[in-house]
């Protein structure tokens, strides 16, 4: 029986570069590896990986495994699960970290069941229990109302980690590490899906995930027209515009504007929540904001428990003068 050792990060590549989630996982993984006194490994899968393996080393990996194959150009469940299953059998990592991303959410449960091991998704905190040496996997549950910590004795221990829950190390280009190739050995007949099309929305201005200031609207905005006022404020502040789930589900705003447990996770300096009640599922997306400012007519709204400043009042009356004053202050 192989001995399970090492913390392995499943790395992702976006636009030819190592994704920010991967640098975050390497940062968090490095701490875990150091505590266990074991290596930090990284696995990268795709068609042409370019400089990504070297970058992974600069961000903390001791050894990077690469799996390159034309069949791996686009993520497909069957192909990637087969490849990672093989890699895990070849390398026996003690811990396997994925990002809670479109790929991570799809790949990791299927892989966990394939390997017969347990998985905790969307973890925000990881630590090693000093007595059992088991990974303590803490994640939000009940829409964010509570936190649960899980552990499992099965190996490898698998988790997905929420974006921005961990921090990358300062990259060190002089860091030394190994790069080793693993053959994909894929059977194309086993791939039961086909990607027919990929449709990307044009995102004007700053992306929500990168924005320093966000203006977001909730159910109380009442319709697409109300969002025009939020866009006006956002323009003055050079902010991005977002929404809680109801405006997105009601199609008042594009789906990509949704911030929350099943939407985007954002960590701006300033988050202005207009007519948002502050349901836990929404807070899951914005509680990482440095300053939450809330405008809501319900004094009992949950958002006020998270906000630093707030006004209790109808946004239709509060927002216009707020926007006006903001414009004056920024001009002066």
């Amino acid at each position: 029986m192989a001995e399970y050792k090492g913390v392995m990060v499943y790395g992702e590549i976006t636009d030819g570069k190592l994704s920010s989630i991967t640098t975050e996982l390497l940062g968090g993984g490095r701490h875990l590896a150091d505590e266990l006194k074991e290596d930090l490994l990284c696995i990268l899968v795709g068609d042409k990986l370019g400089e990504a393996p070297k970058k992974a080393i600069s961000y903390g990996a001791d050894k990077v495994y690469t799996v390159e194959d034309p069949l791996l150009k686009d993520y497909q469940t069957d192909a990637y699960v087969a490849v990672i299953e093989k890699a895990v059998k070849d390398t026996s990592p003690r811990i396997l970290l994925f990002g809670q991303t479109a790929v991570g959410r799809d790949l990791s449960p299927r892989l966990a069941f394939r390997l017969g091991t347990a998985l905790s998704m969307d973890c925000i905190e990881l630590s090693i229990d000093p007595s059992t040496k088991l990974l303590q996997q803490t994640r939000p549950v009940y829409g964010g109302n509570a936190r649960a910590t899980f552990a499992s004795e099965l190996l490898p221990q698998m988790v997905t980690v929420r974006q921005k829950a961990m921090s990358p190390l300062e990259p060190n280009e002089a860091r030394k590490g190994e790069i080793a190739a693993i053959k994909a050995e894929l059977d194309p007949a086993k791939i039961r899906t086909k990607v027919l099309d990929t449709v990307k929305e044009e995102v004007a201005g700053v992306k929500l995930e990168d924005a320093q200031i966000i203006v977001a609207g909730g159910r109380g905005i009442g319709g697409p027209d109300g969002f025009k006022q939020l866009e006006e404020l956002a323009k003055a502040l050079k902010a991005a515009v977002g929404a809680s789930r109801p405006p997105s589900d009601n199609k008042w705003v594009p789906e990509s504007w949704q911030i929350g447990l099943t939407g985007k996770i954002v960590t701006p300096e300033v988050y202005i929540a207009v007519a948002i009640s502050g349901a836990s599922q929404h807070l899951a997306g914005c509680s990482g904001s440095k300053n939450i400012i809330a405008i809501n007519k319900d004094p009992e709204a949950n958002i006020f428990k998270e906000a630093r400043f707030g006004v209790v009042g109808d946004w239709k009356q509060v927002l216009p003068t707020f926007t006006q004053k903001v414009k004056e202050l920024l001009a002066g």
Binding site: T77, A102, R105, D106, P109, R110, F113, R114, A118, M121, D122, Q136, V141, Y142, G143, N145, A146, R147, A148, T149, F150, A151, S152, R192, T193, K194, V195, L196, T198, V199, K200, I213, S248, D249, T262, K264, V270, A279, S280, Q281, N291, I293, A294, I295, E300, N302, R308, F309, G310, V311, G313, Q317, V318, P320, T321, F322, Q324, K325, V326, L329
Partner: protein
């Protein structure tokens, strides 16, 4: 071409209950049902029923709803029938309680094997209580069928399904061979309301109830006994920080005052 569809639905504490009513019982390490707020079918599972109903509307078929738990409220768990599903099978027993993604997926997959033929299994993308998001993919893996997750639109023809899968800032169109399992996300749109006619039809239907022995399940592999994870701690994070409410004579004045206060605090 009519399709044979199975939808997995979970009864949970209402996720829309006010956050202030959320409390954990320290003696049992379980969430206390909020007073006066009945449980519901997990919203993503309702949307999974909706996805199946849309296909049934288009091309006909049969929808079997499968639900696992204990003390399931008939009013609640029959809702998919009222929406238009045809049959309800309950895996209802104390032995099913306290499971994790593994033991739940295992029990559901075993029940599905007993149901027999199917073209599509629909699941919600995650249960809106534990938010684990694994059972759908887990069932597919145990049954050895392909899966597509986070669907916002599903169409089916000629032994294949065409699925629009949500990705950040857009979607992919995935074709998958049937039989397959598809998990559904909120981007699919609102689930339809039960009609009066539907409610009356549902009230006449009795769910089929299966105990572990009925589907050849060993008690050690299901519920709390079959867990692969241990719940070490369940807690509510302590909320610190106070909100400064900016007040004025009118809401309009408060708006200006808020902007000035933020400038003062060097926030804008």
């Amino acid at each position: 071409m009519p399709l044979n569809m199975i939808v997995c639905c979970k009864q949970i504490l209402d996720p829309e209950a006010p956050p202030a009513s959320f409390k954990i019982d320290p003696s049992t390490n379980k969430v206390m049902p909020p007073p006066g707020v009945p449980p519901v079918v997990s919203p993503f599972d309702e949307q999974a029923v909706e996805a199946a109903l849309r296909i049934k509307d288009q091309q006909g078929g049969k929808i079997t709803v499968l639900s696992l738990g204990n003390n399931l409220l008939r009013d609640v768990i029959k809702k998919p029938l009222s929406m238009g599903a045809d049959e309800l099978i309950l895996l209802e027993d104390e032995a099913f309680e306290g499971g994790d993604s593994w033991s739940v997926a295992f029990a559901l997959a075993t029940a599905i094997k007993k149901i027999g033929e199917f073209d599509i299994i629909f699941c919600g993308r995650q249960a809106a209580d534990w938010d684990a998001g694994q059972v759908g993919s887990g069932i597919a893996e145990i049954l050895g069928i392909p899966s597509v997750t986070v669907a916002k639109k599903v169409e089916a023809t000629d032994g294949k399904a065409k699925v629009e899968r949500v990705i950040p800032d857009g979607y992919q169109v995935i074709e998958v061979t049937l039989p397959a399992l598809i998990t559904v996300s909120n981007e699919l749109g609102e689930a339809r309301y039960a009609t009066l006619k539907g409610i009356m039809a549902a009230s006449k239907k009795q769910p089929v109830i299966w105990k572990p022995a009925d589907i050849g399940l060993d008690a050690s592999k299901i519920g709390a006994a079959g867990r692969k994870t241990k719940l070490v701690k369940l807690f509510q994070p302590v909320k610190e920080g106070k909100c400064e409410i900016v007040e004025a004579d009118t809401p309009a004045d408060a708006g200006s005052k808020l902007a000035m206060r933020l400038r003062e605090a060097k926030i804008i």
